[in-house]
């Protein structure tokens, strides 16, 4: 009897302990280091000035903004605890948190308090005409900003805007470190360039030079709760093939973007997890409609029919993506599912070209009078050149079969930007656009965006499209906006100012010990607070 009681007693204790231990074993534990690898290096860790994805990802870790979107698409407050939108929809007031402190400078224990001054200063610098940034066009719906008190900021808008809250996603800079600065060009001797200070979940610790790793540490006093992972280290790589190998051999824990050709190798390895995310972007061939031959719609349509997009997607990207029929990502609200992607048909292409009058053939190239179907395609020598080269050469090959000759001109990246956006000296380009959540395509296709440095590099003009874009931008009715965009989708699919190719699925790969990974499509680390490292193997 005694034996039995003892057994029961110890079993009970054991079960009790197990029950307590279980949640500990499976809950998020603090600690650990996450090392992630990027292909390339960041330019600088300062919002407003930095525009490239690598810098944006780091900025997402270091800095905060007024509001952000949670994984379900709801607006949540980051630096703002609540907000008010006036009835006329032209005034937005943010009530800021009073418990936010900027990261402490090295050597200090506490940082400065975050106040409305910071928001005002950031906005003023961002919109200053001398500041070198591309953000100004995104925020010029704002007319003015006013500090009401230390924790209240009021924005007055030029006119009502749909879903205005989500637009306040710009990162805030510390005003106390920018005293006397009205604009930023990038060549000033500022401490924030050397040691960024923000209000985000991670603090900058060190960076020994642009090709060295960047070390970030969790910010204990982070107002939304200290993140679990203690340290995040970013390792820049100069060679893309080496990144995947380094992941496989334990040199890094996470690879932000796995090139399609390496996916199979990681998939087969049970130590790693592949996490797909889309980046709200699409790839396309863009045409310069200043060229009289390309201004002929049938020519552009013929090109679209002459290429086998599915074959390219399958062969070069392992099929990891989706063909599109218009300038939107397939998952977005703007995409019109009724508009079907153009089917591959060499016959249709040939008949379109015949109809356009290009019926004479000389040396394998079609001609009409003195106009040859011969185009110059300008391509940037960029780092990710394997798939780019394959797409371009396949493109050249497909077009050759219908009598169009494409001459490829390779230019270094900055020279390419100059040729496309400033000099407009090109016929065709292969590129992709990356969007934020608002999917505003007006800068791509509106006729007032034609000009030096503007995004309508192909000089596409369609008054109907202009009118629809303007209407979409002013309407406050989400349904109406959706309808307008669907119409735009149909028109732009018919007009083919671009040949729309596909939206790719990106894959991040990481060691299984990293848990609860939720990835933001454009900024990647927005939800990093929830990630944790599982200890003890795995």
């Amino acid at each position: 009897m005694k034996q039995f009681k003892r057994t029961v007693f110890f079993s009970a204790v054991f079960i009790l302990i197990a029950l307590c231990a279980a949640p500990i074993l499976f809950s998020q534990e603090p600690g650990g280091t996450l090392v992630y690898g990027e292909y390339g290096a960041p330019t600088r860790l300062v919002p407003i000035l930095a525009n490239d994805s690598i810098s944006i990802r780091l900025i997402e870790l270091i800095y905060g903004s007024l509001v952000y979107y949670d994984p379900d698409g709801e607006i949540k407050g980051d630096l703002a605890k609540s907000w008010d939108i006036a009835k006329d929809l032209k005034t937005v007031t943010f009530y800021l948190r009073d418990d936010v402190r900027w990261h402490p400078m090295p050597g200090e224990s506490d940082g400065e308090l975050f106040t409305a001054d910071d928001v005002v200063k950031t906005y003023k610098i961002m919109m200053h005409p001398n500041t070198i940034t591309s953000l100004q066009s995104r925020y010029n719906f704002i007319a003015s900003v006013k500090k009401i008190d230390d924790y209240t900021v009021m924005f007055k808008l030029k006119k009502p805007v749909l879903n205005v809250l989500g637009r306040f996603s710009f990162k805030i800079l510390p005003a106390y470190l920018l005293r006397g600065v009205s604009y930023l060009r990038g060549d000033e001797d500022l401490s924030i360039y050397k040691h960024p200070i923000g209000t985000g979940p991670y603090m900058f610790v060190s960076q020994k030079g642009p090709s060295s790793e960047i070390v970030l540490k969790a910010y204990d006093a982070y107002h939304l709760g200290r993140p679990f992972i203690d340290t995040i280290i970013m390792r820049p790589f100069a060679d893309q093939n080496i990144i995947t190998q380094t992941l496989l051999y334990g040199g890094i824990d996470m690879e932000i973007r796995v090139p399609p050709r390496d996916i199979a190798e990681i998939q087969g390895d049970s130590r790693f997890e592949l996490n797909p995310y889309s980046t709200l972007s699409f790839s396309f061939f863009g045409y310069n409609l200043r060229n009289p031959v390309l201004a002929i719609k049938e020519v552009r349509q013929a090109i679209s029919y002459a290429i086998n997009r599915q074959e390219m997607l399958d062969s070069f990207f392992e099929g990891k993506g989706q063909l599109i029929s218009g300038p939107f990502a397939p998952g977005s609200w703007a995409y019109n599912l009724d508009v079907k992607p153009i089917v591959y048909s060499v016959d249709k292409a040939n008949s379109l070209l015949d109809r356009a009058g290009f019926t004479e053939w000389t040396k394998g190239i079609r001609k009409r009078g003195s106009y040859e179907l011969r185009f110059e395609m300008v391509v940037p020598i960029s780092k990710e050149n394997e798939t780019t080269k394959r797409v371009i050469l396949a493109f050249q090959n497909y077009l050759q079969k219908v009598g169009i000759q494409v001459d490829i001109k390779w230019l270094e990246w900055k020279a390419w930007t100059e040729a496309v956006f400033i000099d407009h000296k090109f016929d065709i380009i292969y590129a992709d656009w990356i969007f934020d959540d608002s999917f505003d395509i007006s800068s791509l296709f509106h006729s007032r965006e034609i000009g030096i440095g503007k995004n309508n590099f192909g000089a596409y003009r369609n008054p109907e499209v202009d009118a629809l874009l303007d209407e979409a931008n002013t309407t406050l009715d989400m349904e109406k906006k959706r309808t307008i965009y669907r119409q735009l989708h149909a028109i732009l699919a018919e007009d083919v100012p671009y040949t729309y190719l596909w939206t790719l699925t990106n894959y991040a790969a990481y060691n299984r010990k990293v848990r609860r990974v939720e990835i933001h499509p454009t900024r990647f680390f927005t939800y990093v607070r929830e990630w944790y490292i599982q200890r003890g193997g795995g």
Binding site: T33, R44, D187, Y193, K208, A238, Q245, G251, E412
Partner: protein
């Protein structure tokens, strides 16, 4: 003494002029580069400012990242130094014996395959060699010898340092150049009366020829490699992810980071001239006759 001083002064002035020349060239080239970037199209005044910054050793900040140039360049320099000096050492280690063997008639039959082998290795494209080494090492040992070896503990630090040095030392045409030089010089020297006389005296060839035949061209070669030591090996640094000067210079050119590039060139010029002076001094001591 005064002769010495005069020499030094002459060298300093020459170096001064050289720095101005190199900076001017780079400044000119940069201003012609396509694309919009900070610092483009600025005129003579900004060139003067640049020179002033260089000569006062206040290098300023990088246009692209805003970080102090000092904190960018010196770590990179240290890394490159490890790589290139190590590589030079390896090159010499292999090339000198092979060169010596080739020069001596007695060894010709054996040395020929060896020197052929060294040429073969020298003629492989460097990055391919690097990849091959990485592939074999990683598949056979389970380690990937990249510079940043470890996040969580496994991996071999030794390999990560050794392999890029090995690749750079063996590849890149260095061995073949050194072998050739030593063979030719040694051949020439063996034919002189000096050596014939010492052989008549019964001394071994190596001892007598050593003084002249090897040391002098060796010293010349080592000091002529100074630009290489500075500029680093762009390719090997990319493959093995070594954060050195070569990679920095490459990235700066693409990013149009003129301040960084000019400082790199400045350092390069300085080191080359210092190397020249050191070499001349050394040669003077080794062989007063041929100074």
């Amino acid at each position: 003494m005064t002769r010495f001083l005069k020499l030094i002064v002459k060298e300093v002035v020459y170096t001064f002029l050289l720095v101005i020349g190199v900076s001017f060239l780079l400044f000119l080239l940069f201003n012609m580069m396509p694309g919009e970037f900070l610092g483009k199209g600025e005129g003579v005044r900004s060139f003067m400012l640049l020179l002033k910054r260089l000569f006062t050793l206040h290098f300023g900040v990088s246009i692209v990242s805003g970080i102090d140039i000092n904190s960018i360049i010196f770590p990179a320099f240290k890394n490159t130094l490890i790589l290139t000096v190590g590589a030079l050492f390896i090159s010499l280690l292999f090339a000198v014996p092979i060169g010596i063997f080739s020069a001596f008639r007695g060894f010709k039959t054996y040395s020929w395959p060896l020197s052929m082998l060294s040429y073969i290795v020298s003629s492989i494209p460097v990055f391919y060699f690097g990849y091959l080494v990485l592939y074999l090492v990683s598949r056979y040992t389970g380690y990937l010898p990249i510079y940043y070896v470890q996040a969580s503990g496994t991996g071999s630090r030794v390999l990560a340092y050794l392999l890029p040095i090995l690749v750079l030392g063996l590849g890149n045409n260095s061995i073949c150049e050194i072998v050739r030089l030593i063979t030719i010089e040694l051949d020439r020297v063996i034919g002189t009366d000096y050596v014939a006389a010492s052989r008549a005296r019964g001394e071994s060839i190596l001892a007598s020829a050593a003084g002249e035949g090897i040391l002098i061209p060796l010293v010349s070669i080592v000091f002529s490699k100074v630009p290489f030591i500075i500029g680093g090996a762009v390719i090997v640094e990319q493959v093995f992810n070594w954060p050195g000067m070569g990679r920095l210079a490459f990235q700066s050119t693409l990013d149009r980071d003129m301040p960084v590039l000019i400082v790199i060139a400045f350092l390069s010029v300085l080191m080359v001239r210092v190397g020249m002076i050191a070499r001349n001094i050394l040669l003077f001591h080794l062989n007063p006759r041929e100074a």
